[in-house]
């Protein structure tokens, strides 16, 4: 059987009619609330961004100082320099001390050793490489 009461309720309007003045006020106020909310969020993001930027700047300055030291060392002793002061790459076990061996040759030696030992390079640790004269 058709339930006409329910059929009428199904298309009934939700809520009540509004005065146009009230609607205008709600619209303006709502727009302001959205602006206010996002403006405050913007300030929060500026503050957190500022904190991170200053941290970045400090880290950069530190890294530059380290590089400067390394440069000086290289200039002083070009063949026996190992950049011990430099931070390690992620996942690496540490630095290799090079004694009279240029970087390129050291890399080649490490690759050859890994190949001969049939072991991946990242599973080997080289402490130092020294040229025997």
């Amino acid at each position: 059987m058709i339930n006409f009461t329910l059929l009428a309720a199904q298309t009934a309007d939700s809520g009540t009619k509004m005065e146009i003045g009230d609607a205008a006020l709600t619209a303006v106020f709502g727009y302001c609330v959205v602006f206010f909310g996002l403006f405050l969020l913007m300030i929060v993001l500026f503050i957190t961004g500022g904190i991170f930027k200053s941290k970045d700047a400090k880290a950069k300055a530190k890294a530059e100082a380290v590089l400067e030291n390394v440069k000086k060392e290289v200039e002083a002793n070009p063949l026996t320099v190992t950049p011990l002061a430099l931070p390690c790459a992620p996942g690496s076990a540490g630095h290799v001390k090079l004694h009279g061996v240029p970087d390129k040759e050291a890399a080649m030696i490490m690759a050859i050793v890994a190949d001969k030992m049939q072991t991946p390079l990242n599973e080997l640790r080289f402490i130092s490489i020294k040229e025997v004269k």
């Binding site: 059987m1 058709i2 339930n3 329910l6 059929l7 309720a9 199904q10 298309t11 009934a12 309007d13 939700s14 809520g15 009540t16 009619k17 509004m18 146009i20 609607a23 205008a24 709600t26 619209a27 303006v28 709502g30 727009y31 609330v33 959205v34 602006f35 909310g37 996002l38 403006f39 405050l40 969020l41 913007m42 929060v44 993001l45 500026f46 957190t48 961004g49 991170f52 930027k53 970045d56």
Partner: protein, 406 residues
């Protein structure tokens, strides 16, 4: 067995017979509309992931529901009327829906409870890189400005005789955010869910046609040619902290935004924190797809001919277009203000991306910027206002829910 009686009974039970009695022709019109929507989704690729589901849901409900006497219907509007009716013994009785409803009634529970839109937001969060917004927080102002259409359409709807609740639901179409529109409408004016969802998703698909004329109208060639400086790099830690800050801040400001903003930011945290890749992947793909299936088909089910075919639907479609247009205008105007205040460093075209249709609106800004200056790359600059628009429309919805919700 009496063959004539059996044939008569079969004819009496069939949907074909229902087309010829008591408003059955309306179902025929709705079936045609669903075919048009299927054509738009499949052939024209108008938001196909949702529109195809919505259109097929529309088809299914209008093939099976011809009035409250349709016992085999997949969706029963009268059950939901009882569910909403405070004087009914079945007020807010999900058990009544489960024991008497059809398949689409049961799926619709997820819409009614606000589960599907929130889960979609979780997926959106997991898919969104908020980096451009974090790098340039001023983008938030463009996202706020582009909510202008929401409130203008709300006002327009009240002027056209809609109730406050209905006007709020219609206005949110201007937020260009389907899940937000569905979330708000199911709470404020569920009787308008079908037309509002269809209008929202259709206009989102039409953004490349709606926005460019307004962009050209409101900006000069010189403004469109502006090349913006590259944004700063955003650290991983900033990206991890961002969703936590936004969730705390926005939910404390407007608690009614908690389901949407909470899920959006949780999804984003899973994406960025680097230790929940499996969850992030599930939310972005499997969960998003499952929820899209349920959401599309159950929203389509609300388009029963008896409630869809009326003058209000046409008004909603007109107001939705107004809302979209004014949201674009709002973003562009604030973009122009930024252009002046920064001495020409901001390209006002990125303002139109403040409507939250991600990433379509940002792509339109990019395309228009490149048309004016082929060496212009605005995409990443436009992504800032674009994702700010998602937060902005959630705040607008939260405000309307706080004002008109019970």
């Amino acid at each position: 067995m009496n063959i004539i009686d059996t044939l008569e009974k079969l004819w009496g039970d069939s949907g074909f017979q229902s087309f010829f009695v008591d408003g059955g022709w309306k179902n025929l019109i709705m079936i045609l509309i669903s075919c048009v929507l299927l054509y738009l989704g499949i052939r024209k690729k108008f938001e196909p992931l949702l529109l195809v589901g919505i259109a097929f849901g529309c088809l299914l409900v209008n093939l099976s529901y011809f009035g409250p006497e349709s016992t085999d219907a997949l969706y029963h509007p009268e059950l939901w009327s009882e569910f909403l009716d405070e004087s009914s013994e079945f007020h807010h009785d999900y058990g009544h829906i489960l024991s008497n409803g059809g398949l689409l009634d049961i799926l619709y529970i997820g819409v009614k409870a606000g589960v599907y839109p929130s889960l979609i937001f979780m997926g959106v969060g997991a898919m969104t890189d908020f980096g451009p917004l974090i790098a340039n927080p001023k983008s938030l102002l463009l996202g706020a400005a582009a909510q202008m259409g929401v409130f203008l359409a709300f006002f327009g709807a009240v002027c056209l005789g809609f109730t406050g609740n209905q006007a709020a639901s219609i206005g949110i179409i201007g937020g260009a955010d389907g899940p937000t529109a569905i979330f708000l409408t199911t709470r404020l004016a569920p009787e308008l869910l079908g037309p509002i969802a269809i209008a929202a998703y259709s206009y989102m698909a039409l953004i490349p046609m709606i926005q460019p004329p307004l962009m050209k109208l409101l900006t000069t060639k010189k403004e469109r040619e502006v090349k913006m400086e590259q944004n700063r790099n955003v650290t991983k830690t900033e990206k991890i902290i961002f969703p936590i800050i936004v969730a705390m801040f926005v939910i404390l400001l407007l608690p009614s935004t908690a389901p949407l903003v909470g899920c959006l930011m949780l999804g984003n945290l899973w994406r960025e924190c680097g230790v929940t890749e499996r969850l992030s992947d599930t939310v972005q793909n499997a969960l998003m797809n499952i929820v899209t299936v349920f959401l599309g088909i159950s929203v389509g089910a609300t388009t029963a001919a008896s409630s869809f075919l009326n003058i209000k639907t046409l008004m909603i479609i007109g107001l939705g277009l107004t809302a979209f247009a004014f949201s674009t205008v709002g973003g562009l105007l604030v973009g122009k203000i930024m252009y002046v205040l920064t001495g020409g460093k901001v390209n006002p075209l990125i303002g139109s991306a403040g409507v939250s249709a991600v990433p379509m609106a940002a792509r339109v800004s990019q395309m228009e910027g490149q048309k004016a200056n082929p060496s212009n790359f605005l995409l990443m600059h436009a992504m800032g206002p674009n994702v700010a628009g998602v937060i902005g429309s959630a705040i607008a919805a939260g405000f309307l829910l706080a004002v008109f919700g019970k």
